[in-house]
């Protein structure tokens, strides 16, 4: 479990040009949650990620991971529980061969060889990388490299997997497949996922959406709850998925579409229902 209470962080604390990246964030994430963290550049989401893995330490308030406070001295205990994947795999993959890189984290924990092998096997399978486990990282596509990075984080067997904009450099279809893989992993293994993104259509695929703006939590709820406040989202520099926007417009035209529209699939269902009922109404 992750608990943040009145969590604050500033760069260059106490100096004149201090930057207040987080200003009192309250957040509670239960084990196994599947969460999207969104916000435009500068909203504080990358700072939050760095706090979560104890690369930075709070300058105010409190952050606990499974009850362990994030502060100097506790880094290792925190990082055993939360693994992070950064935006550009080129800057975080270390070893030159896929399996070796996935093994890098477990090796640092000083685990037995059999245990490392089991974890690496598990992570490679979960991300569909078994076939290329002996390939060189440099020969892979950007999407594959990102999967290797995620497998490396997963092999740590963390409670939470934090993904810091892993999809921003990938084409939308590739990004979507990656998120579906994560969803599957979350369902099967119960690994909590915190996915940082600025794509709303990606956020729609998650159970819970946390919107950061100006270092504060602007919204926190299900995608449906969040997307309903489209004007506020736009103010925060974010987009509403077109499916949601379109449902709103159709609703404004008097079509009874309901609140459940989050993405293309749910819009399609709603419209199919509508069409069916109309066909009945006009039927023989």
């Amino acid at each position: 479990m992750i608990e943040a209470q009145n969590l604050s962080f500033s760069y260059r604390t106490g100096e004149e040009d201090a930057v207040h990246a987080l200003r009192g964030v309250g957040l509670r994430l239960e084990p196994g949650e599947f969460v999207a963290l969104i916000g435009h550049n500068g909203s504080g989401k990358s700072t939050l990620v760095r706090l979560l893995v104890a690369v930075l330490h709070p300058t105010g308030g409190e952050l606990r991971v499974d009850g362990i406070p994030v502060r100097p001295g506790n880094e290792l205990e925190v990082r055993r529980r939360i693994s992070v994947v950064f935006q550009n795999p080129d800057d975080q993959l270390i070893m030159n061969r896929v399996a070796d890189d996935v093994a890098f984290g477990p090796e640092n924990l000083g685990l037995e060889r059999e245990e490392i092998a089991a974890r690496v096997g598990f992570a490679l399978r979960a991300l569909g990388l078994e076939e290329i486990s002996e390939h060189l990282v440099e020969e892979l596509s950007p999407g594959q490299k990102q999967r290797v990075a995620i497998a490396g984080a997963l092999a740590m067997r963390p409670r939470f997997l934090v993904l810091d904009e892993p999809t921003s450099l990938l084409p939308a279809p590739v990004a979507r497949r990656l998120i579906l893989t994560l969803r599957e992993l979350n369902r099967r293994e119960g690994t909590g996922v915190i996915h940082v993104t600025h794509s709303m259509s990606e956020a729609a695929l998650f159970d819970r959406v946390v919107v950061l703006d100006g270092g504060r939590v602007l919204m926190d709820g299900s995608p449906a709850q969040v997307f309903r406040r489209s004007d506020q989202l736009r103010e925060a520099g974010l987009d509403v998925p077109l499916a949601v926007e379109l449902a709103g417009r159709l609703r404004a035209r008097g079509l009874p579409l309901g609140d459940g529209v989050l993405d293309a699939a749910s819009l399609r269902e709603a419209l199919a229902g509508l069409r069916g009922s109309r066909a009945e109404a006009c039927g023989p």
Partner: protein, 274 residues
């Protein structure tokens, strides 16, 4: 044009799947070490002839086409001839009576000079052959794994073996990334009218310097991310690490190493005894 990778000979490992390729990298490194030492100790033609036979045997077993080996060595051979010419002309050792074939001031050509230059040439060719064959038959990944495991006992003496190998691993990892980056840089700048490969030496040095600034600045930024990435993956130095990949030397590998040692000792012994 601007295909910088074209020139890259780094890590060009030709996988013929031969016995030599499949050999444990530690054994290959050990054998290479033995041959490097032998090249220093042996100083007769007969000794080098014996080592040459061994090289020929390795060549045959490895199935690396000799043409491939020779193709990259033109420049090396040119430099070698240059150095050997100097060795002969400036030979400063003892020259027996009547040993001079030609003499002019401090320059001379003597049989003793020719002989010593030839031995030096053979020695350097052997060294060249050993490293080149090592690189042609061993992937960089295997090479680094081998290096780490050979030296891992030193870790107990507080020599940071794992760390040193990791420096090399990171260097190797970034080479293709940087090549791609610098190709892009060179292209974009050429399109703006700043080709890096024109002009006099100083202009070029300045332009290459400016071309390298983003590589260095970007490199330091990448270093920050990678440092963080390693820390969040719980890296705390080599002492705490266990390893997944284990190298296994087959009995035949050991036999091969033993054969190389025996052969090298024989070459040395023949050299010394005669």
């Amino acid at each position: 044009m601007l295909e910088l990778q074209r020139n890259v000979i780094f890590g060009q490992f030709v996988d013929t799947g031969s016995v030599v390729h499949r050999m444990d990298p530690r054994i290959k490194l050990g054998a290479a070490f033995v041959l490097v030492v032998a090249s220093f100790l042996v100083d007769t033609f007969l000794g080098f002839a014996i080592l040459g036979l061994l090289a020929a045997a390795i060549q045959a077993v490895s199935r690396v086409p000799p043409g491939y080996l020779l193709r990259g060595s033109a420049l090396f051979l040119g430099f070698l001839l240059f150095i050997l010419a100097f060795q002969v002309l400036f030979y400063a050792g003892e020259v027996p009576e009547g040993g001079y074939l030609w003499r002019w001031g401090i320059l001379s050509v003597s049989t003793a000079g020719l002989e010593s230059a030839a031995i030096l040439g053979l020695r350097v060719i052997l060294l060249y052959y050993v490293t080149t064959m090592l690189m042609l038959t061993t992937s960089l990944v295997d090479l680094t794994a081998g290096l780490e495991q050979i030296f891992s006992p030193l870790q107990r003496l507080r020599v940071p073996v794992n760390e040193l190998v990791l420096v090399f691993v990171i260097a190797v990892k970034f080479v293709p990334i940087f090549i791609e980056e610098i190709e892009r840089l060179a292209r974009a700048r050429t399109a703006r009218g700043v080709p890096f490969d024109e002009g006099g030496a100083l202009t070029r040095a300045r332009r290459i310097g400016r071309l390298l600034v983003p590589i260095f600045v970007g490199g330091f930024a990448r270093a920050d991310v990678l440092t963080t990435a390693m820390q969040v993956r719980c890296y705390r130095g080599g002492r705490h690490r266990t390893r997944l990949r284990q190298l296994a030397a087959a009995p035949s590998d050991w036999a091969a190493l033993l054969a190389v040692v025996a052969w090298a000792v024989a070459a040395w012994w023949v050299s010394g005894a005669l």
